[in-house]
Amino acid sequence: MKRKLSIIITILMIGMLGVIVSGLTFGDPVDHPMDRYFIENSQEESGANNVVTAVLFDYRGFDTLGEAAVLFTAALGASLIFRKRRDD
């Protein structure tokens, strides 16, 4: 019973993904003004030749700050789970 339900859910999710993907064409992305702005202005505004790094550390700096905090918290959690215990 549960196995049948799992298979039905799997097929349903694959179908939903297929419906989403079927409207997209490869090699012709949506021309958003944000990306064009980044490519045209990132070199003079941030001083970095690598546009991805400029986006990561300058335009979306808060994103990187949260990312670093998540990594820090994961390391903290893993080292707390395997801490040395007295009793066992």
Partner: protein
């Protein structure tokens, strides 16, 4: 389980080269593909090579968990200080005030397709270095913790 001396010698020989390559990826993050996260992961893979080649009790003499926790905290603190340093000058959080200043990492970049100059980028290389320090510390802490969880079985 004891690895053979071939594995240990190979790990010893390869470790400095992996270190140099990771540092190159971190330092050139604003010019070539790469950056703090990728270079930190490469450095942590060098640490993982040492951990796999030696026993757990031997390798914890080389790579201590306290040292890696210190690296992790130092990196995150350096990142936040670099972001906060713009607020001292009255600009916004994360403002890139070092970029056209002419001092360290402060050359103004030539626009368009140019030869890459390492001395550009302002705060971005400093943040790359900070994130690299943080990532190598965090991944090493996670690896050491997971290894210490299964150490009695091997």
């Amino acid at each position: 389980m004891q690895m053979s001396s071939i594995v240990k010698t190979t790990a010893d020989v390869l470790f400095p080269f992996i270190l140099i390559y990771g540092l190159y990826i971190i330092l050139h993050g604003h010019l070539t593909p790469g950056g703090g996260f990728q270079g930190g992961a490469i450095l942590a893979s060098g640490v993982l090579l040492l951990l796999l080649a030696y026993r757990y009790s031997e390798s914890t003499n080389i790579v201590r968990q306290v040292m890696m926790k210190t690296l992790e905290s130092t990196g995150l603190l350096l990142f936040i200080i670099a972001a906060l340093s713009a607020m001292v000058l009255g600009a916004g959080f994360f403002f890139n005030w070092l970029s056209p200043l002419g001092s360290i990492f402060g050359d103004s970049v030539a626009y368009g397709s140019t030869v890459a100059n390492l001395n550009t980028g302002g705060l971005i290389p400093i943040m790359n270095i900070a994130v690299g320090i943080e990532v190598v510390g965090a991944i090493s802490v996670i690896l050491l913790a997971l290894l210490s969880g299964i150490q009695e079985k091997i």
